[in-house]
Symmetry: C2
Subunit: 251 residues, 2 copies
């Protein structure tokens, strides 16, 4: 006789702070229920083991961890290349065996602008219940704070780095923005933020509003929305070397 | 001599629960800092006064309100038609006079899928600092839980109601989804959820994955992602009369 398959555990999607742990208290950005749920887990799939341990340590200072940090099982998502469905299923073995498993991104909401979605797709295929928990997302906070259209918007990730390809993509996104009255959002690696803002300010129509949101949820947060032509004369206002989200809306 | 202009107050963007207050504890979906910040305010711009008073009452049961609910000043966003910039500025008068003002949506994150963005745009134009606070967003939670592409996605609001226009729009969005490997998200009023899911399941390519997320954050949350062809035979699984978010990703 075959043993009955155990009732699967759940896959809990646990957001983490956007800002450095020294700059922001966990209670500023995570609901008590997210902290308590995370503190009860002992199996994790994480983007970055070091960040995950630091976050779990910080959570433990608010809500005692049910399992000591050293005893927790952390599996790391492959950093580069595609995570194929077989590898994603292997990561979920503990859930198939009946244990709740947490999924934690490097910063912010898991599966948004990170490679975690493959794990969630595998969970759906395996009938593992998926539970998204509330926490900070730089995309959502930047959109809220932008004053740009929030009823239709798109996040495009990174734009091309090569100047002509980038300019062409910006023009294409501006045409779509005007056509659908849609806010366009994108990111850049911090050391190229100034280059991207200059390209946006100089390529977009002078009246197209551009919003920049840096260091969201941190004390030094910087959020500003101005028409492209006004950004052109104050590009030096952009804080350097901090994570930034860029948005724009054509008139 | 002219009196110096006071230092303006801030505009705080305060998210509210997605689920009924009886179904979900505030601490499940709002960080302590969001509760404390909201409890300290006495001027509000709100989408719905009744909801706002209920949420403030619930917040007061966790963190004492600095100003009694009856003494708080609630200005209601015009429900229909465009909120023009002059009207938005008028709503912000208290902030111009130096008082912090909260902006609260009917459910979820303000300025996302609601008319609040005009108020934030006016705040930027008036140099009123804008502070987005962390809370639940059905768009973000649905995207996280979908297992669909989270590195490129778009929210389109409502699709056309007329069947042929809706079908045409679904095909157009599927082409764009395939071209940009972009998740497409949309909503519908609860009583038309079944009609929209049927249209998506029958119009999209059989292998295009469709995700449905209903009653997010509530105990009866329903989250399922299946290829269109599998949805066709289980349309009756969709819970009725609950808020739902729909997503799909072409192969």
């Amino acid at each position: 006789m075959e043993a009955p398959r155990p009732r699967p555990g759940r896959l809990l999607l646990v957001p983490t702070p956007l800002a450095e742990l020294g700059d922001v208290a966990l209670t500023e950005v995570l609901p008590q229920a997210t902290l308590e749920t995370a503190a009860a887990l002992d199996h994790w799939i994480v983007e970055n083991a070091r960040t995950a341990r630091a976050v779990l340590g910080a959570i433990g200072r608010h809500v005692p961890l049910r399992t000591a940090l050293q005893q927790q099982v952390l599996s790391v998502l492959p950093k580069h290349g595609e995570l194929d469905m077989e590898a994603a299923r292997a990561l979920l073995q503990a859930a198939l065996d009946g244990t709740d498993v947490g999924l934690m991104s490097d910063a912010g909401a898991p599966c948004v602008a990170d490679p975690g979605a493959r794990v969630v797709a595998a969970a759906h295929a395996l009938d593992i219940p998926v539970v998204p928990l509330v926490g900070p997302s730089s995309i959502l906070l930047a959109l809220m704070a932008s004053g740009l259209e929030g009823q239709r918007f798109a996040f495009h990730g990174y734009l091309p780095v090569e100047p002509r390809a980038r300019e062409q993509r910006i023009r294409e996104l501006e045409r779509d923005s005007a056509h659908h009255h849609q806010t366009q959002l994108c990111i850049e690696t911090p050391y190229r933020n100034a280059v991207l803002l200059k390209a946006l300010a100089e390529t977009l129509h002078p009246e197209t509003r551009i919003s920049v949101a840096c260091a969201l949820t941190a004390p030094q947060a910087f959020i500003r929305t101005l028409p492209a032509e006004q950004w052109r004369t104050q590009l030096d206002q952009l804080p350097s070397k901090v994570p930034a989200m860029f948005g724009f809306l054509a008139r």
